[in-house]
């Protein structure tokens, strides 16, 4: 690891100001992605700005049909939260499927979506549940947030403060995990929101995406059979040592049907 400076500030404003004055500085959340990256010398930040001292980034709350999770909330706390389990159980079961207990005790929802790994789980929840990402500067709709491989709508130095999830009528997440890392080879979030059905896929493409044909079919008939014949083209999907694009395309159908089947009935 190259050396760097370290600072732990206690307010969003001070942290953003410090980051804005130093192009090469980087925010540090749980460090579950950033520290391994630094060890491999794939990044050389001048300074790490630790977000763990900012009270405004913590906590889970429910009000007016919306569940809000602070950016620095770790996966274990989302999984164990009575509010999350009561209002969006699919989100709790997604969180408990991430990595392993040690990773869940450190890794955060803000870090996960800022990083936007193509195989990360949370992007499927953010898109599938039509969440809003609140930053120090603005509110970004889920459909506008994930832009491509490790690419988001965040501008340099923009800090995620919290993510708000409208509570759906029902939702389920089905995931085919990589057996070694538990990252999603493919994960699908199916939700019946107050504004209709959403089907969001992670793991398969450059970033999370929706499957409009499945959403339309499920709106007509909410059953696994209704989407049986809908194939997702493999053209733009990922091929790597774990799975080919064709296999991932196949898994999108299987995981979507599993998610629907767990809800229908």
């Amino acid at each position: 690891m190259y050396d760097f400076q370290y600072a732990k500030l206690t307010s969003v404003a001070d942290t953003v100001t410090r980051r804005t004055s130093d192009d090469e500085a980087s925010y540090l959340a749980g460090g579950m992605t950033l520290i391994p990256t630094l060890k491999q010398r794939l990044a050389r930040p001048s300074a790490l700005l630790d977000l763990s001292g900012i009270a405004d980034l913590k906590g889970i709350s429910v009000a007016n049909g919306v569940l809000t999770i602070g950016a620095m909330t770790c996966h274990a706390d989302v999984a164990a939260s009575a509010d999350v389990r009561a209002h969006i159980p699919a989100l709790a079961s997604l969180a408990v499927s991430i990595g392993d207990p040690q990773v869940r005790n450190r890794g955060t929802i803000g870090g996960s979506i800022a990083n936007n790994d193509p195989s990360a789980d949370y992007p499927a929840a953010v898109v599938g549940l039509n969440a809003t990402v609140h930053t120090n500067a603005r509110a970004i709709a889920a459909d506008d947030f994930f832009k491509g491989l490790f690419e988001t709508a965040l501008t340099p130095g923009e800090l995620i403060v919290k993510i708000s999830f409208p509570i759906p009528k029902r939702a389920a997440y089905a995931k085919f995990p990589n057996p070694a890392s538990r990252y999603a080879v493919v994960g699908v979030m199916v939700a019946e929101t107050l504004n209709g059905i959403r089907v969001a896929v992670t793991g398969a493409g450059a970033c999370a995406f929706r499957v409009g044909d499945m959403e339309a079919a499920l709106a007509k008939s909410f059953s696994a059979d209704a989407i049986k014949s809908i194939a997702v083209p493999a053209d733009d999907l990922n091929t790597d040592m774990h799975a080919t694009a064709e296999y991932r395309a196949h898994l999108v159908g299987v995981m979507a049907r599993r998610a629907v089947a767990s809800l229908a009935g």
Binding site: M1, M32, L38, P101, N105, R106
Partner: protein
């Protein structure tokens, strides 16, 4: 260099570290607590598992400065002197180790499982799932799983 002060196994310990010093380096090299192992250094194996404020974390994937002002428990701190903690005794009893390299991390993760299951029954499937962050290249895991279940029982946790 920065001064960090961490309460390690109940005692306040301070040292000058670089910002890039990992928590595991602070424990092993500055405090000579070499029970915490480094198996992979890539956040996969869990040999470096310690408790941060009571919760298992991988000390190779955390900076010493991030632990400033916090509580850390290492394998040296689970039982006084040369006594064995009931979980350590269960690993000995059940052949839960061969070379022993993964063992400190396994025990710290096992104690995390116990802490999360107070008042709830623990079964073999849960133990296997919740040991996902710890790799062992010797035992084939069966002895480890048996040890965690026996340790749990001896610590008063209901085993299903």
């Amino acid at each position: 260099m920065t001064n960090v002060t961490v309460t390690v196994n109940g005692t306040s310990r301070s040292a000058e570290v670089e910002a890039r010093t990992l928590l595991v380096e602070f424990l092993r090299n500055k405090l000579n607590l070499t029970g915490t192992h480094v198996g992979c250094d890539t956040s996969q194996c869990g040999a470096c598992t310690v408790h941060l404020n009571g919760k298992p974390v991988k000390s190779c994937t955390m900076l010493a400065v991030q632990a400033d002002g916090q509580n850390v428990t290492t394998i040296e701190g689970v039982a006084p002197g040369s006594d064995l903690h009931p979980m350590q005794a269960a690993f000995k009893e059940c052949h839960g180790l061969q070379c022993g390299f993964c063992t400190p991390g396994m025990v710290m993760s096992a104690l995390g499982i116990i802490a999360r299951h107070q008042g709830r029954a623990l079964d073999e499937k849960t133990v296997r799932q919740e040991l996902e962050g710890n790799l062992c290249r010797c035992t084939g895991y069966q002895g480890i799983v048996n040890a965690v279940l026996l340790g749990a029982k001896n610590m008063g946790v209901k085993v299903a």
